[in-house]
């Protein structure tokens, strides 16, 4: 297990380099010279030259990449062009907000998704099942920014229970977590239900019934345990989706997280900021997938033995 985890971690290294190259290149595909946003209007060619030299923009692209990568590996993400502050500081400042939001949203969708899937599977093909699945289908198709605005309208404006925006205290987290979490809940519930129904067809479940165990106990102690495998994988894969959703939802709720930072960077053509945000989000997706796979290997002896 440990060697598998280490091997998987090592495999991330080339992926990291590939992603860093993509992130670096994307920004250089933007039409317009980054110099134009750096230099003041009316700067002389000499002044522009000096700025280019200071930011290393006068060197060949490949050299720029290795310089950037070298600094990156030392934790130096460059200086924001518009905000004129170290990007690492900006990221460090906004990361906790995004982590809190993403983590809680993931927790919310796991708990409620598994619960909803479980209930739907136990009461399969009844009104309860149909009701849950219909509600979930509806919840998963709502555009997340729209759901966020709707929740603001109901719970912040009409009822006044939660703040409209910002991140002053924990109450400001409730509506954003709900917005992202509801979308994730749908998928987790659907996967849980399908996996439970598939597992219920297996021979060992038939044997448990033959032994005379109560049906509910079989569902909770035996079927659910097996059915959780694909759910764990999906949850790992969903981390990226939740982060993507966080970008829009943070914007709607004006939360000072990574998503807001990214959108601001995109609007202001602040390349170092955009690069850093993209890199962080892509790394989070990779780590999420890895954690999902490792959790599955830890839970399922069959996966473990297949890896040996």
């Amino acid at each position: 297990m440990l060697s598998y985890a280490l091997r998987r971690l090592l495999l991330l290294v080339p992926v990291f380099f590939a992603i860093s190259a993509i992130v670096f290149l994307i920004i250089h595909l933007v039409p317009g010279d980054p110099l134009d946003s750096l230099a003041r209007i009316g700067s002389s060619p000499e002044q522009k030259q000096a700025i280019a030299a200071r930011y290393g923009l006068d060197k060949p692209l490949l050299e720029q990449y290795f310089l950037w990568l070298g600094r990156l590996l030392q934790g130096d993400l460059g200086t924001a062009i518009v905000l004129r502050r170290p990007v690492a500081d900006l990221v460090a400042q906004s990361l906790p907000y995004s982590l809190a939001l993403g983590g809680l949203a993931l927790l919310f969708s796991s708990v409620f998704g598994i619960l909803a899937g479980l209930v739907a599977a136990i009461y399969k093909e009844t009104r309860i099942d149909q009701g849950i699945m219909a509600g979930i289908l509806f919840g998963s198709t709502l555009p997340s920014f729209w759901l966020g605005l709707l929740l603001i309208l109901i719970f912040a404006v009409q009822l006044g229970w939660f703040p409209v925006s910002g991140a002053r205290n924990w109450t400001a987290l409730v509506l954003p977590v709900l917005t992202i979490g509801l979308g994730g809940t749908a998928l987790v519930a659907r996967v849980t239900r399908t996996a439970m129904l598939e597992t219920a067809q297996k021979d060992f479940v038939l044997l448990l019934h033959a032994k005379g165990l109560p049906a509910l106990r079989i569902q909770l102690r035996h079927v659910l345990r097996h059915a959780l495998m694909p759910v764990v994988t999906i949850l790992g894969l969903r981390i990226g989706w939740i982060l993507g959703g966080a970008v829009t939802v943070e914007f709607v709720f004006a939360r000072p997280g990574l998503g807001t930072l990214l959108i601001r960077g995109l609007n202001q053509h602040d390349y170092p900021v955009v690069q850093a945000c993209l890199l962080m989000l892509a790394m989070a997706v990779m780590l999420g997938t890895l954690i999902g796979d490792l959790a599955q290997a830890a839970m399922d002896p069959r996966v473990r033995s297949a890896l040996q």
Binding site: T141, L149, T248, L266
Partner: protein, 293 residues
Amino acid sequence: MSADTAITARRADFRRSVAAKVMLTPKGGIAGAYLILLVLLALFAPWIAPYPYDAQNLKIASQAPSLANWLGTDEFGRDVLSRIIYGARTSLSVSVTAISVSVFVGMALGAAAGYFGGLFDRAVTTIVDLSWSFPEILLALILVAIIGPGLHSTMFAIGIAYLAQFTRLTRAQILSLKGETYVEATINLGASHGHIVFRHLMPNALAPVIVCGMLATGDAIILEATLGFFGLGAQPPVPSWGAMMSSGSALIFKAPWIIIFPGLVVAVTVIAINLFGDALIRALDIRARLREG
């Protein structure tokens, strides 16, 4: 009757029976009817919409739904219902065009990678796997930011964002079909690559990819609305569901109907596409093959 006309007749029969299976299920039927209605509304918008989409009247700005304006008016006094009907044109054409091109290119890439294998396959698979690290919405946001806002860049961004999905699925289909006995027989008979790919592999790989594309169209509608909401999609005065919500979000306290109704239409449309796709999957019996991707 020659063999060819017999095959043509059987194909027509098959198509008719799939259509019947989809439209006769309650969910597939209702969803199908809604989608047909939406397409008709979009096509005949100038004759159906009660007002032109850009008719401003500041005297009736931000008014609640009434008999004259069923879904209220926006901040410029434009009729929300009319703008939703015209917006269907934008949303449907952008998402359908983007996904069609994406399906087409993805199929070409996936088929070539799966059929020829080797270095090209390795390169395609690597790029597809890497693009998996960027959620679709992020990929689209960045592409639009690079090319600049507008409808064409929205289409391009959505197309690229979903390309990996179709490439992966087609490749998996081709790989599993390549091992079938009838394909081996055709190879041994000395058929050309083109004949094998277009005559034998592609027709059999088609159904799952098309259905997957149909389901992705629903996601693309949400993506288009999201880009529009960020002000990166359709530019004023072109009506799009996302752009309507973007301008409405400033007035959320005063005139919530400006954002409620377009969002509702997006949600209902995406649900209809999902239900229709589900019915199609059941009628074609391809659930297992969709998982291969």
